[in-house]
């Protein structure tokens, strides 16, 4: 068995995803510390725009096929499974993303390799690899020793810094020979559905008033709207608020929503689950209000307060109006 670390490269609309670049950086560090190589597994229809971003890899295993243009779980999974069984590495990293989550568990069952989801830290301690995973919406951390020969790990995007500069060397690129008898995929890609248009683009709004389930009910949403108006910003939300149909999908922040970096992110009644933090933790100023002093959002916020948002929001609006906060337009 080798001490190699593999990273399953993800791409969307031709571009390698940010989370892949972060994972490659961390994976390289771990591989090199244990005398292994960082191997990027790239399944694509056209690698030309993608290979340059993978300069930090020691080796790129490339499978180029027209059907790898768009992700489909079985075609990708079958190819990765074959490659893994051929030469199992020590560690296989993928994103805890829409792509990685479709691969992780199926691959684990198919190969018998252990798997872990929601990893936010990887450490090497006395030659033991340790993964830290967040469960219960970020309320508990679990430290797991990766003691199996091969472990598959899905990493929460944003957990590792993207390496500042790319190494100057060029990784070796090797074509992955896929077995001729790969089963035909029972899943086919039909089309990409674009985000709905016509609403405000929350990724471009500098002031966001974000509401979570703590807003209690739809009747309280106009209060958030008035506050956003008083601050000259817009309202966005966590997933449950969107799933309830209280706000359109365009306003969702997080893993399956938008990633925002506003000047101000006012998180009102949001617990701060990893899937939410993923979309907003790079905001310049985060102020969180929650009735639960243990809410994980306070770990990501710059300022926090423990109080009822339904009571607080109108007071904020009034105070903002009084101080004439809104930018004169």
């Amino acid at each position: 068995m080798s001490n190699d670390v593999w990273v399953v490269a993800e791409h969307a609309r031709g571009q390698l995803s940010e989370s892949t670049l972060e994972t490659v950086g961390k994976g390289r560090e771990l591989a090199h510390a244990t005398g292994g190589k960082l191997v990027a597994l790239l399944l694509t229809d056209d690698e030309r725009n993608q290979i340059n971003s993978l300069a930090a890899a020691d080796l790129i295993l490339l499978a180029r096929r027209p059907e790898f243009r768009e992700f489909t779980p079985e075609a990708y999974g079958g190819a990765i499974e074959a490659a893994l069984k051929e030469a199992p590495p020590r560690l296989v990293l993928m994103g805890s993303t829409s792509v990685g989550l479709d691969l992780l568990s199926v691959l684990s069952a198919r190969t018998g390799f252990a798997c872990l989801d929601s990893c936010t830290r990887l450490d090497l301690r006395a030659s033991q690899l340790l993964a830290t995973c967040q469960i219960y919406g970020g309320k508990l951390f679990v430290e797991v020793a990766l003691s199996s020969a091969t472990t598959l790990v899905a990493v929460v995007p944003g957990s590792f810094a993207k390496p500042a500069d790319q190494p100057s060397g060029r990784p070796e690129v090797r074509e992955l020979t896929l077995p001729a008898d790969l089963p035909v995929s029972r899943i086919t890609f039909h089309r990409l559905i674009e985000p709905p248009s016509g609403d405000v683009d929350i990724t471009k709004v500098p002031i966001l008033v974000a509401v979570g389930r703590g807003i209690q009910n739809a009747d309280n949403l106009p209060l958030a709207g008035e506050l956003a108006e008083a601050l000259g910003g817009a309202v966005c939300a966590s997933r449950p608020v969107i799933d309830q149909g209280w706000l359109p999908l365009t306003r969702q922040v997080g893993k399956s929503g938008m990633t925002v970096k506003p000047k101000l992110y006012l998180a009102l009644g949001i617990s701060g689950a990893p899937e939410h933090l993923e979309g907003m933790k790079q905001s310049e100023l985060i102020v969180a209000v929650n009735t639960d002093p243990k809410a994980p959002i306070f770990g990501a916020a710059h300022y926090g307060a423990v109080t009822d948002v339904v009571e607080l929001i109108p007071m904020l609006t009034e105070e903002a109006r009084k101080q004439g906060l809104k930018k004169a337009s």
């Binding site: 568990s105 684990s108 508990l140 086919t188 089309r191 990409l192 929503g257 985060i286 904020l316 930018k327």
Partner: protein, 254 residues
Amino acid sequence: MNIAVLTKQVADLVEGIEIDASGRAVDRDSIRYILSESDDHALEEALLLKERSQAHVEVFSLETGEVRDGLCTALAKGADRVVMILAGQETPPSNHAAARMFASVLKGLPFDLILTGVRAIDDLDGSVGGLLAGYLGLPYVGLVRKVELVDGAATVEKEYPGGFAAELGVKLPAVLGIQAAEQPPRYVPVTRLRQVMKTAQVEEQEAEPASEEPVSVERMYKPEEGAGAAMLSGSAEEIARQIVNLLSERRVTR
């Protein structure tokens, strides 16, 4: 069209969760159980499919947490049959073991679709849906928000970041990890639930034992409280003033 829905109970995060004396597991006495949120969405999507195409919906849960109430609720919402799978063990199984047990019960049964929540808050070793698909050799798609049945196949919408989604065609039988149903999960009035509970038939079925323990937990811990944010205190009015002062000083809105 036969649909199986797999559900489980998880800790209600509104209550606190405690770590047990071993430091490696959750103290189960500290937990109040509720249906896992995305499983609730999986059930809702199955019931929508039932309404649209006369599907037969069966719900399966392993015997952990307070399963019986959850299964009765599923019946009250419109499931045709509910089954509690006897796991024959005290501690909650890992997802690998759970998926093996589900596989032993579902294997050979004529289900066209198996729906489950894409992820539960206590998932550590992957998701039950993906593992089950792997064991049964079925296709799996997760983060699904819409399912349509067309000529023995499913057309599904799978979510991607930034508001994008992909429409995929999936041959049946298949396993789907539901992220969100097409409408919020329906609500059952307590009176109706009580009525159903009086006559509810929760069938029991034994699973083949599975004792896979694929991850070795070194320790569990809570994030350090108070790490991170500088906390503002006072009455709600005082807090409101402090927040607005802060924005004003930092010229956030200019």
